[in-house]
Symmetry: C2
Subunit: 239 residues, 2 copies
């Protein structure tokens, strides 16, 4: 299915009755978080993709910050990926994506919070220098150590146990993009998953096979192409 | 009761059985958020105040980020004010501080999230320039408009309705400090609550009378003194 992002001078498509209106961008990792929850819950949703470089006037009118992801629920405009994921999990309890214990819930949320360092290091690597720099790459690799340790300590296939839960889905979008470093750098830099992060390597294979993840998966080559164009100041959103 | 913050070369005090270990700093608005929830819940807690300029080695060992607030629960180290508040509310359900509807819960969390702008504007006003600058003051006043509007639209005394809830407690610490602008600037700058934000003015009086808030309240003069010393590079924590 062709994906077209709406830009300036567009008109908001009419809402589909019985379906959640979801504002997204195909290459946004934060929007992907919410998409994965919608997929896992099997929630009917009707996606409007937003061109973040040429934001539609009608979108800025309903959301001056102009960010994605966002949802309309019961005529209320809702944003923030982690809050949206939490909301969807509570509003549509099956399958549950969070532990029932408050203690395990905060421990999970702290893992997601601490994962922010990986996201920051990845962005620094890909977007702030002309070419990939070795020290930034090393920093990114180092940021993965606590995540590997966490999964080893949990002793389960997924952070959620036998199945992915919110931790798995909230961090996944960056793992999909980590594999883009290889094609993006023409093979010069490759995250040593098998050697240094064997548990995460296994987890990645399982995640790619997960239905919610698989149906929205983009190849490393395609991600690399998006990053290259974005850095050149010509971001390409449509697929 | 005298409050003494622990510094370098200190030893962590033994934990008190049956009491939550709470790491705090007397003038930290984020720590105050958690303190207010502990107060509202009537939870026995044993506070260790941390000198954030001369952090104890033992604290950096258990929490390299060295931040407050933090709690120990069931031997787990927990941090992040909003996550801690959410955890305490779920772990100790009485009195409930969050709505039962997932939709109202995310709407409340989005209000707290959007309040971040007030915090940023306040910090900019107080800490980034030698004297208070008019444009920063105007920016801070403008940032309060959506909060006043939100309370007017809710049509209730508190954001939580007839009683304070997490929204009230999570934003309160900054309102306590907003009144410090007056003594801090020797009366040159005063937030025009009565004129421009009548609903928030009323809410402030009710909040100061709330038991959870009252028992941890610090006067504007005392806050102003703390800011003055902090800016001079000589932060004073003890009371």
């Amino acid at each position: 299915m062709a994906i077209k992002h709406l830009s300036k001078d567009s008109v908001e498509p009419p809402k589909v009755p019985g379906s959640l209106r979801f504002y997204s961008m195909r290459f946004c990792p934060y929007a992907q978080r919410v998409q994965l929850v919608l997929n896992a819950k099997g929630m009917p949703h009707d996606t409007v993709f937003i061109n973040l470089s040429e934001k539609p006037e009608w979108y800025l009118k309903i959301f001056p910050a102009g960010k994605v992801p966002a949802l309309i629920y019961d005529d209320k405009f809702l944003s923030e990926s982690l809050l949206l994921a939490d909301f969807l999990d509570k509003q549509y309890p099956e399958p549950p994506l969070q532990p029932s214990s408050p203690l395990q819930t905060i421990l999970d949320k702290l893992v997601i919070e601490s994962f922010g360092k990986v996201g920051t290091a990845f962005y620094k690597l890909m977007m702030t220098t002309k070419e990939i720099e070795k020290n930034n790459f090393d920093e990114l690799v180092a940021s993965l150590i606590p995540i590997e340790t966490e999964l080893v300590e949990r002793g389960t296939k997924f952070f959620g146990g036998n199945k992915p839960n919110l931790v798995d889905y909230m961090i996944w979008p960056w793992f999909e993009r980590l594999d883009a470093i290889n094609p993006y750098s023409n093979g010069t830099f490759v995250i040593p998953f098998e050697d240094k992060f064997p548990k995460l390597a296994e987890w990645k294979s399982l995640m790619i096979a997960d239905k919610a993840v698989a149906s929205y998966y983009i190849t490393p080559e395609k991600h690399a192409e998006h990053f290259t164009k974005k850095k050149a100041g010509l971001p390409a959103y449509d697929i």
